[in-house]
């Protein structure tokens, strides 16, 4: 009984929270009284519906999505490689740590403006998404590797585990929880930074460009509608990522002893 009602309760809770904030938005919009400054939820929804049926909406969304996803995935791959490499070779860590600090400390806008000089506008959002996610993944993988339980590694040494077995049975499960969290955080960052880059560098087809145009023509309702689109896409991708990870971890636990023997 409990298990069947929990998802419904959760759904009702989410809907209630959503209704509350839409209500707050409506109150603010009514208090301001100027649609140009704060459009009401209804006007924004109508504008959004008007956008959804256009070809421009879908093409812009797909292009932005692909750019951000490409930047995110490249950062995940290279972040893992660098995390492992800097853990394994301390000289690499010494050599590359200034880069890590620079990327973490410099504001994203500085990077966007700098990169505009060197990179084509269509590829700049990919680079910026990549750059913002890279240190998150890199640091997480390095930190997680440093914190692997040494007792388990000693156990593996006594029981003569092969290197592949140590990797798949101890290393991967040990780093997975922080890695998953960093991926989810990184995905949010890649959306924020990717769209920011699009707004500044204005690629031909992009959500960022539509957002910029809406702002220029004082179409505040459209700015809100595009922002909602970004939120929906971001949440959608986060949900897909969480679902994929859950599937993977469940399968890993179920077949844990059979992997990489």
């Amino acid at each position: 009984m409990t298990t069947s009602t929990t998802p419904i309760k959760k759904f009702i809770k989410v809907v209630c929270v959503l209704c509350f904030w839409v209500l707050v938005w409506q109150v603010i919009s009514m208090a301001v009284g100027i649609e140009l400054l704060v459009p009401s939820p209804l006007v924004t929804f109508q504008t959004w519906l008007g956008l959804v049926v256009t070809e421009k909406f879908w093409i812009s969304a797909i292009y932005s999505l692909l750019r951000i996803l490409l930047g995110f995935l490249s950062a995940v791959v290279l972040g893992c490689v660098l995390g492992f490499a800097t853990y394994r070779f301390s000289i690499l860590k010494t050599l590359l740590s200034p880069i890590l600090h620079i990327i973490s400390a410099v504001p994203v806008v500085s990077f966007i403006i700098l990169a505009l000089v060197w990179i084509k506008t269509d590829t700049l959002p990919i680079f910026i998404s990549f750059l913002m996610v890279l240190p998150i993944i890199w640091q997480t993988v390095f930190g997680a590797l440093s914190q692997i339980d040494k007792n388990l590694l000693e156990m593996a040494q006594v029981y003569k585990f092969k290197k592949s077995k140590v990797f798949f049975k101890i290393v991967i499960p040990s780093i997975m929880p922080p890695f998953i969290t960093s991926c989810i955080t990184g995905l949010g960052f890649s959306w924020k930074s990717g769209i920011a880059a699009e707004v500044i560098c204005l690629p031909q087809i992009a959500i960022g460009k539509q957002l910029f145009n809406a702002k220029v023509y004082l179409e505040t309702a459209q700015v809100f509608a595009w922002t909602i689109t970004i939120i929906i896409l971001s949440v959608l991708f986060e949900t897909v990522l969480k679902f994929a990870i859950k599937k993977y971890t469940t399968a890993y636990r179920k077949d844990g002893a059979n992997i990489a023997d």
């Binding site: 585990f161 077995k165 890993y252 844990g256 002893a257």
Partner: protein, 192 residues
């Protein structure tokens, strides 16, 4: 397989743990290093297992296969009891692991994760893992921690069933543990 430790000296930083220490264990012999906590028993067993290297002296285990029960259970938290036992087996033979689990009285707990088991149950899984791995030498570091006397006796019987004709080195501070394994007791004082 015999074990020979000759003139072993070992220290952690400035703290000397062993000095000119000698130990000889014959094949088929079961010995117990009995001593208080912190006297260097665990260091000795770690040296035999190859987890530490002595600063001086030689250790000869005659290339025998060594199995070990650590002071801590050292089970993989994400693996079930059955998976933990079958992990060290090269051919991942689940039937051996299942048999071992049954022999330590945990056949109903094969799908439980370590966090879902009691301390005593985890200890039994750790012992089962070492027995399933087999070998020529069995190193036992406080193996019966958290286990009641009745279970200690049945586990000791099981250990002797698998390693009775092989070499066993037990370290403990409880004399009773040595008795139930029928071990030859050596009063271990380290360098103190």
């Amino acid at each position: 397989m015999p074990i020979d430790l000759n003139n072993i000296s070992f220290s952690y930083g400035n703290k000397q743990i062993l000095k000119d220490f000698n130990l000889s264990v014959k094949r088929g012999e079961c010995i117990c290093l009995l001593g208080v906590s912190g006297c260097g028993k665990t260091t000795t067993i770690r040296l035999i297992a190859g987890l530490e290297t002595p600063q001086m002296g030689t250790i000869d285990t005659h290339k025998g296969k060594i199995s070990m029960v650590f002071q801590e259970d050292r089970l993989l938290p994400w693996a079930t009891a059955l998976q933990n036992i079958s992990l060290p087996l090269t051919d991942n033979d689940k039937s051996i692991a299942k048999k071992m689990l049954e022999q330590v009285g945990l056949s109903d707990s094969s799908d439980l994760l370590p966090e879902e088991m009691s301390g005593g149950m985890c200890r039994r899984v750790a012992i089962a893992r070492s027995l399933a791995f087999g070998g020529d030498v069995l190193l036992l570091d406080e193996p019966f921690n958290g286990i009641d006397t009745a279970n200690k006796r049945s586990l000791a019987k099981l250990i002797l069933e698998y390693f009775g004709d092989k070499t066993i080195v037990l370290i403990t501070h409880i004399a009773e543990d040595a008795q139930i394994l029928g071990a030859k007791t050596i009063d271990f004082k380290g360098i103190n």
